[in-house]
Amino acid sequence: MSKRHLCIAITGAGGAGVISCGELLLQAWAHEGGRGLLRKAYGPQIRGGESAALLKLTDDERYTAASHYDLVVALDWDNFSRFEDEIRLGPRSWVLCDEADELPASVLAARPTVLQLPFAELASTCHAEGRVNMLVLGVLGRLLGLPVGSMVELAAQKLARKPQAYRDAATACIEGGASRPMACDLPVPPTAATGACYMSGNQAAGLGALEAGIRFVAAYPITPASDVLEWMAGGLEQLGGQLLQAEDELAAINMAIGAAFGGVPAFTATSGPGLALMTESIGLAVASETPVTILNVMRGGPSTGIPTKSEQSDLNIALNGLHGDAPHLVLAPLDIADCVFTTGWAVQLAQQLQTAAIVLSDQFIGQSTAIVSEPRRYIPATAAPATPAEGAYLRYKLTSSGVSTLAAPGDAGHRFTADGLEHNENGTPSARQSDHQRQLAKRQDKLADFGFGDDWAQVNGSGPLALLCFGSSSAAVNEAADLLAERGSPARVISLRLLAPLQTAALRAAVEGCSAVVVVEQNHSGQLFRYLKGHADFPQAVHSYAMAGPVPLAPEAIAQAVTEMINP
């Protein structure tokens, strides 16, 4: 592979601190100008199960999940075994484990180089309360060439609320670990510029939403979306906004609609089961033309499914889950940094077009943390001065753009009653065909005719083969394209950010000259594939590569499958 990656997995029991170890390692790496991704994996237990810190250090900020690992640190092998599906080793991999351990046959079968250290003994030599995870941090830090002082300081910050002895032990173990040279010559990727951000996709989405003007959030916890809401709670308090914990998702979406009706940009975040509960009222936002943004952080489905793992299987419901003809916006951020941009854009579009926007993030980008260059922001065009109202105020006035003036309570003389019943321009309920058809057309045309600009997708490369994807698959698909290029099949990658309304003309232009299109996505039934076939009228042959979660999409597998599709 041409890219310089270093993939490290640290596995252990739930309480063993492997996640802290991974976080501190990545933070210290960030301070040196490094780039990298941390994915956290847990078992179903809330506490005391298995956990893994899955690190990928790379200088190109293309954060695919690693599938093959260069280095595995197993604090014990029992907990490692729960991740065997995900953590692949090979003959060029290194394994670091306790001296006393006997390695499982499956691991030995991969023929890695094994390094063994007396973990527990070393840790307790460093400090009476010494813990192995900090020792490992020191060892790995040295491998990456990180300054010991930086790791110690970051650990001290993280452990600020712990007793002094605990912190001392951490320092001693980090220093002890860092003092042990490791006979391991793994190539360390070069570092990039400093001045980056260290954030999860969920935090990035929250930041994007607040920057775009969200000042009201209604919240009902659900994995893996709760941490968006938790992060925003703090932010809103500083901004003088409000967060309201709702009794359920039905309340959450309606509270957001209520706040938005009051003129306060409003938001909620959820995952599949919660989105399903919200659809009736998202339809109300569409029909009453009340702006609202819903971030849906996808997890494994259907039903309760696999709550802690990622999948892209809520595309169907996001696009088509509303009853009646209910056109609305659906967007998807392409990576962690793009969560800032796309969520911000969604909020602005929802406000401007007076409709509901669903943002499809997922557990992979939502709950992974990465070091990213300063994320791009959506800069709204300076708003055209509001057209002065002619005659009496008509809330649902038919205009050339389909967008009517939206008053808010407090505005003098613009009183109206918002309604989810079909209505005439004035908002008065009407069952007449003429009113119905006009308002249906208005709500559809205001989206269809809007100029969304160039951000509807990110287009990379220019090969005669088009790989089409949305949201978080983008990184894996771009990496697959690199592999294909190396193998003589250059491909262009079109990563859709705006899924509805689909920019069919731009999309067709983007695939122009391609002999084949392959739609890649992380679900079982090829939801994007079906949607694009239904809407885009590609002249080319269109193929589907759809692979359900929970294991992340693998570039190598995509590249292979695509090769077979185009050379049958």
Binding site: G195, L244, M255, A259, G262, G410, R415
Partner: protein
Amino acid sequence: MTEAIKLKAKDYKSEVKPIWCPGCGHFSVLNAITKAMAGLGINKDNTVLVSGIGCSSRLPAYVDSYGFHGVHGRGLAIAQGLKVARPDLTVLALGGDGDGFSIGGNHFIHACRRNVNMTYIAMDNEVYGMTKGQASPTTPMDWDHSKLTPHGPGVRPFKPAALALASGAPWIARGYSGNPNQMAKLIAEAVAHPGFSFLHVMSQCITFCPEQTDWKAIVTEHEGPALANADEAAKVFLHEDGFQTGLLYCEPRPSWPPVSDKPVDGNALAGLAASFRV
């Protein structure tokens, strides 16, 4: 003040013609609301009526204020979001017994508990009027007029005041569509109460429950001041026939959200973004 001239009740009515059956109790609630608004001299532009779906829930369009006719059962959620986001507004939520106690039951008990400073008017006719007369959670056990429950629902009706009390509502009153003047007074008091106020209105459905014209004879007026003690109120609410009108219970407690005295930090957004920089 844009409205210097004192407005009358009829000035608070919109030009939309109600779809209600002649003789429906909901007309009387509409009258009481506009009367209360006139009495309070309320600013139309700063008032919002929010509802769900049902005959009763059609009311907002008939009042010349801002309004939101939402979906079935969710009016209280919309209203709470609105009031929390815009504490400067006067917010009234309203709807029927089906809307509020059946599909909307969860929002009802949680609104009572949450105690946001707003008013909720439940227009209770012990039936689903709009869908043509099925039993609601307040329908008598043996009411056998619906084909869906041909022998009656067979289930004990809710006592909405008792439920509100147990859920934490600090202000509970009852009105009757036959007495719009009293109702107007109660609405004005409800709006003035600094917290969640629950006004339960017995509002007859002349079409599906013509027998409700008998209510006239059994309605009584609560004597003396409102109870200020939950125990005593519980005793009344668990046993009463549901036809005692007036302000029945009032035990104020701080409403939510608490008013923040922290000044908003003008640089907060920049600070949030900066907090991610390494």
